[in-house]
Symmetry: C2
Subunit: 162 residues, 2 copies
Amino acid sequence: MDDTRWLSAAELEVWRTFVTMFGALGEHMDRQLQRDSAMPYTYYEILVVLSHAPDRALRMSELAGLRGSSRSRLSHAVARLEAQGWVERRECPTDKRGSIAVLTDAGFAALEAAAPGHVTTVREAVFDRLTPEQVRALGAISAAILDGIDPDKSLPGCRELG
Amino acid sequence: MDDTRWLSAAELEVWRTFVTMFGALGEHMDRQLQRDSAMPYTYYEILVVLSHAPDRALRMSELAGLRGSSRSRLSHAVARLEAQGWVERRECPTDKRGSIAVLTDAGFAALEAAAPGHVTTVREAVFDRLTPEQVRALGAISAAILDGIDPDKSLPGCRELG
DNA sequence: CGCTGCAAGTTGAGAGCTCAACTAGTAAAG
DNA sequence: CTTTACTAGTTGAGCTCTCAACTTGCAGCG
């Protein structure tokens, strides 16, 4: 029954540190955006993705895919963003089921206002604290873990089939 | 106005990969525990900390400190765990304001039942995917980031003040 | 003792997320 | 053209978390 491969003491310590950092960093980022720009991190990310899209518009499902978010979550989020006037929903001309989310000027302005504070927080909390080597390592480690969870979501360069 | 130190292209890519991994891993861990053991990851962690404490008991504030959780959050969580019969609340004999959370036998049993699946998930998602060197790097990186966010929470070995 | 200030913990409202239905439209097969 | 299967997206209930009060008790000072 118990063929569980438990963690070694060293692994356990790494895991505990990692998990703690995980929670603290997420909270830190979220709190900064909430405080300074009145939006949760998730919504910031939606605005970012939309702002990079052609015409600042994307179909809901594409947006969900790019963000690694569920349809339901995105639907709730966009409803909220629409109520704030940062995003608009339009009908999709080629598929009547579809919905297209468009970043409004107000949304773009909100993003522009929020970005400096956010980036500064990222820099101070992460990049300023790591050596260039560690930054590279973090990228590789993240990609490896991501690849194991959901190969579809991993960035280009994955060459394994299992 | 704009003396923001923006991220370089390389940094941005690391950040995006990291954030995506962040979200995916959290969701992955949470879903596994929710599915197999009917508890969120946060609650699992509470049970773990309690199980390691002397007499499987801790004051609320100590528990909150060890878990890096807010008092409010812990209070809600323990209320839920108490309703499930996994934790009991007792009065603190030395401080009538205080409350002591105690892990029940049922709670311990639930933890024992949940642990193998959880550890296996951690191993498969993280440790099996990284080289020993990457594991060490991850520990160092996590500690460095954690240290920057809240020095109080960082593990022993922090020797900076400024 | 009687204040004032602070710490421990709880509570309730509100926000975001998940999960499981559900609506509506597309696509493929007969 | 109808039936069936599937996809896009939304909705509502329930859960956890945050934030801001609020209650209760401790501690120090007069």
